[in-house]
């Protein structure tokens, strides 16, 4: 009997790209540089995580427009509010866990209440690191969804990020971007797709199943749809990168059918995409079973990312299994 060596927990920021997959380096950093060339109001800020949120690309290009605030997240977001009060447009980066859990009061009262154009950039959203609960922002959307005025964006890939950044800068109120950093998969260029803030898009049609997804789970949903076609299951994929405000119109048009409906999110099943879709459906009087694919309502284990995605149901294989079990 051959034994397989267990995978090791890799660097804090593990790649979720498949081996050999097309990727783009630091799409956020380069997109911010691009946007800043056109808009001199844009400034970059971070709390000692510039290198880990691709903000270093911006800092290198615009050293006079980059502000290092130290490992002090309350100061980061309070100061971002102060900068916005003077007419600047800050992009302020840290890890999602620190933005949501540690600096909530500052984002809420100093940024969201006065409806300032501050763009919160959160690294390691959901389960994108094997470092355990201190770094896994499995409930970041749940925390932020209740905050008035805040726009929440969960991009799928480098295409989404590149196209979202200038729109976030242009949007007059505060935004939260679930950052994907490093070598980020490039997926949506294969589809007839443009990111539009506040809009969901049907990426592919399908007669049997509808997968409503956001973030990196859209990539997995598309892969699952391909694999399910081998089982003669025809799967539609609806990508909803803007979690709030939510494009109920587009999504519910797909939910309201005889097809099997599932949501796919890199987030706990509490308070994220699933509950957003479910509450929108109930408001419209749509009575329909919707099955969530997402992280369980628990603190997750440490380990290698592929192992964890498989264990907690986020891998493509697990999506296929879940869909087949439901049919």
């Amino acid at each position: 009997m051959t034994s397989v060596a267990p995978l090791k927990t890799s660097a804090m920021i593990a790649s979720f790209a498949d081996p050999g997959q097309k990727t783009t380096p630091a799409p956020f950093g380069h997109a911010l540089v691009q946007a800043a060339r056109a808009d001199e109001r844009i400034v970059g800020m971070t709390a000692d995580l510039g290198k880990y949120t691709d903000m270093h690309i911006f800092a290198r290009e615009f050293p006079d427009r980059f502000f290092q605030m130290g490992m002090a997240e309350q100061l980061l977001f309070g100061a971002a509010a102060g900068m916005a009060e003077t007419g600047l447009v800050p992009f302020a980066s840290t890890y999602s866990v620190f933005a949501t859990r540690r600096a909530y009061d500052f984002i809420c009262l100093d940024i969201a209440e006065p409806n300032l154009n501050v763009n919160v950039v959160g690294g390691l959203p959901g389960l994108t690191t094997g470092y355990g609960p201190s770094h896994q922002a499995t409930e970041d959307i749940a925390i932020f969804r209740g905050m008035p005025n805040l726009t929440i964006v969960d991009p799928c890939d480098s295409v989404d990020i590149e196209q979202a950044v200038p729109q976030l800068a242009e949007h007059p109120g505060p935004t939260y971007l679930r950052l994907l950093r490093g070598n980020v998969p490039t997926v949506l260029d294969e589809y007839d797709y443009r990111f539009e803030l506040g809009k969901a898009k049907v990426l592919r049609d399908g007669a049997d199943v509808v997968l409503i997804s956001s973030g990196l789970m859209t990539m997995r949903a598309l892969q699952a749809a391909e694999q399910l076609s081998a089982h003669h299951v025809d799967v539609a994929v609806v990508h909803a990168p803007t979690i709030k405000p939510f494009d109920a119109e587009t999504v519910l048009a797909q939910v309201d059918s005889d097809r099997l409906v599932l949501t796919c999110e890199n987030h706990t099943v509490v308070g994220g995409l699933f509950e957003t879709v479910a509450s929108a459906a109930v408001r419209r009087g749509i009575v329909k079973q919707i099955t969530p694919i997402g992280l369980p309502d628990e603190f997750l284990a440490a380990g290698a990312l592929p192992t964890l995605h498989d264990r907690y149901g986020l891998s493509t294989t697990q999506i296929v299994t879940t869909v087949l079990a439901q049919l």
């Binding site: 003077t86 009262l109 100093d110 006065p114």
Partner: protein, 278 residues
């Protein structure tokens, strides 16, 4: 003459505070009286502003972290001509532009919404950075309380201001030695306060916050420059200052004043002021 102008402004502001307190039947009158000299020094001597254009881009920014001191700031805004004196009667009433806790969206001249303590200095750091970045010579003055020194974010901001050399930033700390649960010394000891600011890289001065000459002297010692050292003026004040009835009452965060006492307070305030003039 500067001092005289500030003293007269502080006197009128104390009357405004008593009138607002009476109209509402309650309020943070003790804090307003204690901080009146600090606020008068800012508005009657230091702050660059346009009463008819509260959003004038070149204005100095005054940030009130302690939202509950709004009553004191409303008195200052009336004295500055930004708010009508007649409007002060609406303090804390439904539909008023002058809510009990200060909020930027309600009141002209109110730069930020205070109330959640420990925020003001962080926002002030960003404003000072942003103004300097855009070549403005405007200054940022943040008013905070000694209770706010309990908050860790205040010290994040103190280090950040020093690190970024924000010579255009001034903090004023009202040390009335009183917080919600009682005397500061028993809630969370913050002394030695001046040493803490100095250790964070600030130019620190400690003065009698009810002495106008001392306050103006402290401001004169501040070297405001875009790149330099941030300054803090630590102001020891007395809750209820100017009204002996309240100065000697058991100190409370939320001071109770009976209906028949407001007139006594006004008379004591006036008598004290006239006595000081003689």
């Amino acid at each position: 003459m500067r001092a005289e102008k500030v003293r007269e402004a502080a006197y009128r502001m104390r009357h405004h505070a008593l009138n607002m307190g009476e109209a509402q039947g309650q309020g943070y009158v003790g804090q307003a009286l204690g901080a009146a000299d600090m606020l008068a020094a800012v508005y009657a001597d230091q702050l660059r502003y346009r009463a008819d254009d509260p959003h004038w881009a070149e204005r100095d920014r005054f940030l009130l972290s302690t939202g509950h001191y709004a009553i004191g700031l409303y008195a200052a805004l009336a004295e500055a001509g930004i708010v009508d004196v007649a409007e002060l009667d609406s303090y804390g009433s439904d539909g008023s532009r002058l809510p009990m806790s200060g909020m930027a969206s309600y009141t002209p001249g109110m730069e930020i919404s205070g109330g959640s303590l420990g925020h003001g200095l962080t926002v002030a750091v960003g404003m000072a950075l942003g103004l300097r970045h855009q070549g403005s010579s405007a200054r940022v003055i943040n008013f905070l309380s000694d209770g706010e020194l309990d908050e860790g974010s205040t010290w994040e901001a103190a280090m950040g201001a020093s690190h970024h050399g924000l010579g255009n930033l001034i903090a004023m700390v009202d040390i009335n030695a009183l917080q919600a649960d009682g005397p500061t010394v028993g809630v969370l000891r913050t002394e030695p306060v001046a040493d803490k600011w100095t250790a964070c890289g600030w130019h620190a001065q400690r003065v009698d916050g009810n002495n106008v000459d001392a306050l103006l002297n402290a401001f004169d010692n501040v070297r405001s420059e875009p790149v330099g050292v941030p300054s803090v003026i630590l102001c020891d004040t007395r809750v209820g200052r100017g009204v002996p009835l309240l100065e000697n009452r058991e100190k409370a965060h939320f001071m109770r004043i009976d209906a028949d006492e407001w007139q006594i307070c006004r008379e004591q305030l006036t008598a004290g002021h006239e006595g000081a003039l003689v």
